[in-house]
Symmetry: C3
Subunit: 308 residues, 3 copies
């Protein structure tokens, strides 16, 4: 059996067995909750702290709900988002929080690698969970996306998945690729405007395809990424309408995918920019299932890291 995790900062290099165990745990959490047991006392008496250097109400709330459903206490440490919070100052904050005897710190930071820096500098038994760092990783999102796909298309070896949008700056895309590759998906296609595409060397296991019509051809799942509006200027595209024409997911384009192709998005969605409203709300959309799975996956991760 793969060793129990103490931290979760990235899915990269995690063995398939570990990822599958986390997904199985998430399913067990879902089943427990479905049977009316809203509260599981796995983490009674443990304290989890949200340390968000970037605002994110949705992810923070998802972690908060996950921790509380396991009986843990949750404290939100409200960092001023403007302050630098790096280097010594960041480690002093870490050590201060460790000295207060917390069990886990859930961190989001705009600088890639910050959660690993925290792990390296941690002096106590505190667990660090990455809730998104720069462009690098968002491991619980990768897990929840993998879980959502597994519920509908468990045959990972024979799946084709397209990830479309600003792949270059997307920690979601990276964690999705890590999770899906580890689980055996061999056909992962990354798609977006040239200026928002990553270097091919970074993703040797993926195909980079600039044309979305081509990228979506016959896929079993398509993961649309949120376009940060300030990135628009970096593309060759004149405006959002042009972006939507080339990289938006509408019914016509979805028809090129395999029948029943799963439509996914980490949220919040930009309707009419990267996804058409009727597709986002349509029968193939798994977007809200992703949100629900997010809570179960975070319960699973907290359980893996913190349960005695």
């Amino acid at each position: 059996m793969s060793p129990r995790l103490r931290h979760l900062t990235t899915l990269e290099h995690l063995p398939r067995e570990t990822i599958e165990r986390l997904l199985d745990r998430a399913m067990a959490m879902r089943d427990a909750c479905a049977h009316g047991t809203r509260k599981i006392d796995l983490l009674a008496g443990r304290t989890v702290l949200n340390l968000f250097f970037e605002p994110s109400t949705r992810t923070r709330t998802s972690f908060e709900l996950a921790a509380r459903r396991l009986g843990a206490d949750v404290v939100n440490f409200d960092i001023g988002f403007s302050s630098a919070n790096k280097g010594e100052e960041l480690y002093d904050t870490l050590h201060t929080l460790e000295a207060m005897h917390l069990d886990a710190i859930i961190v989001r930071h705009k600088v890639s690698g910050t959660p690993d820096e925290l792990v390296r500098h941690a002096m106590s038994g505190v667990s660090v969970i990455n809730a998104g760092d720069g462009n690098r990783a968002h491991p619980t999102q990768g897990l929840l996306d993998a879980l959502t796909i597994r519920q509908h298309r468990p045959d990972f070896e024979n799946l084709s998945v397209a990830i479309c949008g600003d792949v270059k700056h997307s920690r979601v895309a990276r964690s999705d690729v890590h999770a899906l590759s580890a689980l055996g998906v061999r056909d992962i296609r990354l798609c977006g405007p040239a200026s928002l595409m990553p270097a091919a060397e970074e993703f040797p296991q993926c195909r980079l395809i600039e044309d979305f019509d081509q990228a979506i051809e016959g896929v079993d799942a398509v993961i649309m990424l949120r376009l940060q509006k300030e990135r628009m200027a970096q593309t060759d595209l004149p405006d959002e309408a042009a972006y939507f024409r080339q990289y938006g997911l509408d019914t016509a384009r979805l028809a090129r995918a395999r029948k029943g192709c799963l439509v996914m998005h980490p949220g919040p969605i930009n309707r009419g920019i990267e996804i058409a409203s009727d597709v986002a709300d349509g029968a193939q959309s798994r977007i809200l299932e992703q949100v629900g799975n997010g809570v179960f996956v975070r319960m699973a991760v907290l359980g893996e890291l913190l349960a005695r």
Copy 2:
């Protein structure tokens, strides 16, 4: 027996029986708390989310305390107050929250009708509680005001009540009228400067009286409304001192009411603008009782909506 409520967005058209049941429940909550039982596990394992698009520390805290005393978990979803948060974006937020398996969403929004929009768009079993929408309704305030009056003057059929101030823009006034009318009060007088008075057609069951000395004559309870300072400019009155002379509640004016007239205000009060300090702090003031009843009424509403 009137059917159990699933949502509470307004008191309008609620049957008397339902309102009385909620007040009775609030009294039962008060009694339970008075006997030292600070915590009642009616809602153990349930999760309630505060979704406030307008800041309101007092009302939010009152709901939070009410939910916790019933054993529920409370999550504050900190929406940026500046963003539009309407239409599709609002519904996407709603659906995201529903997907996280919440039991109730307590919403405050500056646009009238938003809570009903949420009810219409809700896809799951989540309950929506209105904590104030635009000028339209603030049902828990209406209930707590009715409860406060009932504790002192239970003979609603023979009561006279004056509501004074910016009635036109007041959701408190509207919910008070709905509650008191349903409970049998036949003499409700609305009073304020002409520019801040509602259309008479909106309140066929009330008398609109511009002169406060006349409106307060012989009443059993007077509910003073908070004057938003930016409304001052809309009146014919030159300044706050002039407002206070015509529409402020001082000892002399209170003497025109029935002996022992209840003095009420939803808070926070503007001393010297709509109410004199000695009246606000005087023996007839029920303002702090209103605050205490607010917690019990919110416990009652949460219990009605969420208890299995």
Copy 3:
């Protein structure tokens, strides 16, 4: 036995016995937590409210953790820091909160004496705990500093302690002096630039020494104060480097103290301004122990004030 406290606004004039009881309670809390009992249900069903008019994430979090580990509910009342919040408005806020049946209000305010004002105006059985008021007092910091010293140097009568920095504006320094004097320390030295030194009359039990090399000579503990950067202009010193040369704690200066001298700081530290990094992180540093003791001391205070 000294009477049980109902409020804690300052350590000034508290009998030695009371302070020792609080430190003993804090040790008992530490021992209980060390034995794996993360949660003690001493305050189950009680509600504690954080009322911070000055932002302070660290202190607020420490109180929040302390209250939760005792089983209490914690509500953060988010006051806008910009608003005046004084006089009538402050008391109306207090009375509103009291009406909601809270057990304790933890208050931080920039105006010295505000917590005592709240005690004087309180109408119910609510306990007030000062989390720092102006330059005047920060009693839980005084207690945690005393506890940290006692763990290493329990022989208070024979101790020498130096407090260095902006003593004039420091509520930490004042509460430290109150605690240490009450516990029997006879040699307390206050040190800092002339413009940041208090009037000698205010501290008749201390020695005021402007030269840090002289002040630190042979002491058993040195408490460094955080320099607010805006105070720099009030000193005769041209810049932070000059401040550090004269009032910073580095290895050379620490060598003048007694062997094994405890290095303390209320945090957050300004590295290279009042303390050298190698000293802050060195073997003699007790800074993180202080943070850990902070939680235990706050548990002790909450237990003293609120346990039935």
